[in-house]
Every structure is written in structure tokens, then in C-alpha cells.
């Protein structure tokens, strides 16, 4: 006869308790980018909405940026590091397959009681992590979860590549997710489409580079039109489904915070969703560039600190990117 196993007991609901972000100091203008690629300030603005972006310093790591953002989020939540039950780090630019970035982040935060793992869902990583954090809190696996989206994309792109060299940048954003008396994170709508692995991929594997050399270290490459078509046709549908499953209508939203992929994708999604004028839309890409897994929390932090979006307001989040993978949910803002 099998033994009786106790099941964990979690909180009724979970919420984002606080947010913090880290934007590297160095500002890189379109003029500087155009010293490397054959383009113009006007072309970059028209195609992407980007005016400037931030690059991390050469000695500044993914973990450094993650710790900086997470420390701010913990301080804002009033949660001590030893209360943290799990550290989730969404990133695709930590330069070691193992050990994980999250183990080092947890150690440097002093989160000695926390489990730790990384999430590799690229630009969708933060929204994946938010769904997982909510499930941990509600499932009783952790009372407080630190979730970080962080990227140092400048290490993994060809800065001379005309299709990616102006888009990607560096930064980190973090939230603390904890128990709540009321629902504050809606059902996640997520998916992936491996038939489009080649839409955003690497030029070669590190093993191929080691064994065969070749002219270039592996870098990120993107089929811009293919990604644009997928994002515009599928992401508005996923966003609407996240609204429907949360029981929220577009006119009840205070903010729409999509992954900061490209301003043109954001504009096309707004049209497809018929978002009312009063909904504040994240346009952080203009001065931050595309920071993949970090873009949603960095944009959220900016909207809250500038007053563009209200604390306690209702926001629709969606992350989408390499995989091609996506995740969307409605949340109450911290």
C-alpha cells in the first residue's frame, strides 16, 4: 500500500508585488549605429521606432544587471532575500550553459532559501516566467518568487548586421511575485511554433564553431518580414484571448505592455485589437531598444515611474519571439 503523501498548500491568488529595472549607462544613438551599418537615423526610426538604445559595459554581465534590477524589486516589496522561495531568470544571453544565471543571482542576492532556474523563451521569457511564478505561489512551491528578465544581446549579435545591429540592446527588469487575497494575474495564453525555428536563430552552434571554425562566432539572425507577419497576425489574437480568459475588456485596460520588438508591430497590434485611446501603450523601445526578455518589465517600470500607467491599474502583457514562442496575460500592476 502506498504511503499518504502531503500535498503543498499555496496562496489563493498571486500578484506582482513590486518592480525594479536596470538600464545600462551607455546611450547609443542611431548616428553611432550608422557608423557600423549602412543605414540612416530616419530609416531606423521609420522601421523600428528606435531613437537610441542602451549598451552594457564590456565588464558588465547578465548576472550583474539581473542582481541590480532584483535588488530594487526586493527593496520596493519590503521582502528580505531570505524570504525568497525561488529565483527565475529569463535570459538567452547568459554566456555559460551551466551553471545557471539564476543560481548566481540567488547567491548574490543572499536568497539562500531559494530554488533557482533559467528560462530560455527569448523575448517571451518574462511572460512565461510570470505564469510559472504565479503557479509556484498558488501551488505552494514558493511564497515569494523573484522573476528577472535580463539580456546582454550586444554579446550575441553582429553589430555590423544591417537587420539586427540597430534593434537589439541590453538591460534588466525584475518583479517580486507573492501571495494575494484577490486575483491579480490572469490565465496565461501561450504557445510555440517550432516550424518557424529559423525565423529567429543563431548562425551556427558553439560546437560547430569550435570544430569547424568559420569566419564568425555564432550570432543572432532574424528574418524580419517573417517575424513581422507572424507577430501582426497571431499576437493580436493571443492578446484578445488573454483578455477574454481574464474576463476583461479592452476598455477596462489602463495599459498595454507588449514586448518591445518594434514600434511598427506595436502599432499594428493596437489597430488589430481596437484598443481605446485611453489605454496607455508602452513605447519604451524608442530609448531602450529591443531588450528581449527584459523589455516588458523595463517598460512596465518606466510607465509606473512616469505616471503613464497607474499603480494598481490593469495591464495586458504579451511577450513573443524566438521559437517562435509567445505568452500573454492580464495583470494588476504593482
Amino acid at each position: 500500500m502506498s504511503a499518504t503523501i502531503q500535498s503543498p498548500a499555496g496562496a489563493a491568488f498571486a500578484r506582482i508585488l513590486s518592480i525594479g529595472s536596470y538600464r545600462p549607462e551607455r546611450v547609443v544613438t542611431n548616428a553611432e549605429v550608422c557608423e557600423r551599418i549602412d543605414s540612416t537615423d530616419e530609416w531606423i526610426r521609420e522601421r523600428s521606432g528606435i531613437v537610441e538604445r542602451r549598451y552594457a559595459a564590456p565588464d558588465e554581465s547578465v548576472v550583474d544587471m539581473a542582481v541590480s534590477a532584483a535588488e530594487k524589486a526586493l527593496a520596493s516589496a519590503g521582502i528580505s532575500a531570505d524570504q525568497v522561495g525561488f529565483v527565475l531568470v529569463a535570459t538567452v544571453t547568459h554566456p555559460y550553459p551551466t551553471p545557471s544565471a539564476s543560481a548566481e543571482v540567488a547567491y548574490r542576492l543572499g536568497a539562500t532559501n531559494a530554488g533557482a532556474t533559467d528560462i530560455s523563451s527569448a523575448c517571451a521569457g518574462f511572460c512565461y516566467g510570470l505564469a510559472m511564478a504565479q503557479d509556484m505561489v498558488r501551488g505552494g512551491s514558493a511564497m515569494y518568487v523573484v522573476l528577472v528578465g535580463v539580456e546582454k544581446l550586444t554579446d550575441w549579435i553582429d553589430l555590423h548586421d544591417r537587420s539586427t545591429g540597430f534593434i537589439f540592446a541590453d538591460g534588466a527588469g525584475a518583479v517580486v511575485v507573492g501571495p494575494s487575497d484577490e486575483a491579480a494575474i490572469g490565465p496565461v495564453v501561450w504557445g510555440s511554433d517550432g516550424s518557424q525555428l529559423d525565423a529567429i536563430s543563431m548562425t551556427q552552434s558553439l560546437i560547430d564553431y569550435r570544430d569547424n571554425g568559420g569566419p564568425r562566432f555564432p550570432t543572432l539572425v532574424m528574418k524580419g518580414q517573417q517575424v513581422f507577419r507572424w507577430a501582426v497576425s497571431k499576437m493580436a489574437v493571443a492578446s484578445q484571448e488573454a483578455l477574454d480568459r481574464a474576463g476583461v475588456t479592452a476598455d477596462q485596460l489602463d495599459a498595454f505592455i507588449p514586448h518591445q520588438a518594434n514600434m511598427r508591430i506595436t502599432d499594428a497590434m493596437i489597430r488589430a485589437l481596437h484598443l481605446p485611446e485611453h489605454v496607455a501603450v508602452a513605447r519604451d523601445i524608442e530609448t531602450t531598444g529591443n531588450t528581449s526578455a527584459a523589455s516588458v518589465p523595463i517598460a512596465m517600470d518606466r510607465m509606473l515611474s512616469t505616471g503613464e500607467a497607474p499603480h494598481g491599474g490593469t495591464a495586458l502583457l504579451i511577450g513573443f519571439g524566438a521559437g517562435l514562442a509567445y505568452a500573454a496575460q492580464v495583470v494588476t500592476l504593482p
Binding site: 522601421r47 528574418k223 524580419g224 518580414q225 517573417q226 513581422f228 507577419r229 501582426v232 497576425s233 499594428a268
Partner: protein, 79 residues
């Protein structure tokens, strides 16, 4: 060439890129004459696919240089 498809396409291009409908004629180049960039072209193609129930793959889009090329492609696909 189908005037109906040309008229429908003109409405789409106008909605996507704000180009006056009267300027959208079959001999006009999307890029050189109408200033439609690659991303707007993707939006035009997607709207056309919805409207006429056709498939215009990315590999085909680059061959649609003029408005007339697009009308002909849609006409052939719906025939």
C-alpha cells in the same frame, strides 16, 4: 486586369500606408512610387490574403514590384 481587385487593393494600401487612393495605379511601384516599405508591404499582403482568401508567401512578395504585379497575382490565385 481586374478593376475590382485594383480598387480593393487601393483601399488596402490607403488604409495601411495613407497613400491617396487616386495615386494607386497598376503601373506604380510599391517601393519607388508609393513609398511602401517592406513592413507595410507585409501588412498589405496580409490584408489582401484576408480579403481574397489567397496565400501570398514571403518568397513571392519580393516579386510583386508594382501594383499591377499584385493584382495579377491575386487574379491568378482566385481564378
Amino acid at each position: 486586369m481586374s478593376q475590382e481587385i485594383l480598387d480593393g487593393l487601393a483601399v488596402i494600401v490607403n488604409e495601411v500606408a495613407g497613400v491617396p487612393v487616386a495615386d494607386i495605379q497598376s503601373d506604380k511601384s510599391f517601393i519607388d512610387d508609393l513609398d511602401i516599405d517592406s513592413l507595410s508591404m507585409v501588412e498589405v499582403v496580409m490584408a489582401a490574403e484576408d480579403k481574397w482568401g489567397v496565400k501570398i508567401p514571403d518568397s513571392e512578395v519580393k516579386n510583386l514590384r508594382t501594383v499591377g504585379d499584385a493584382v495579377a497575382y491575386i487574379e491568378k490565385s482566385t481564378a
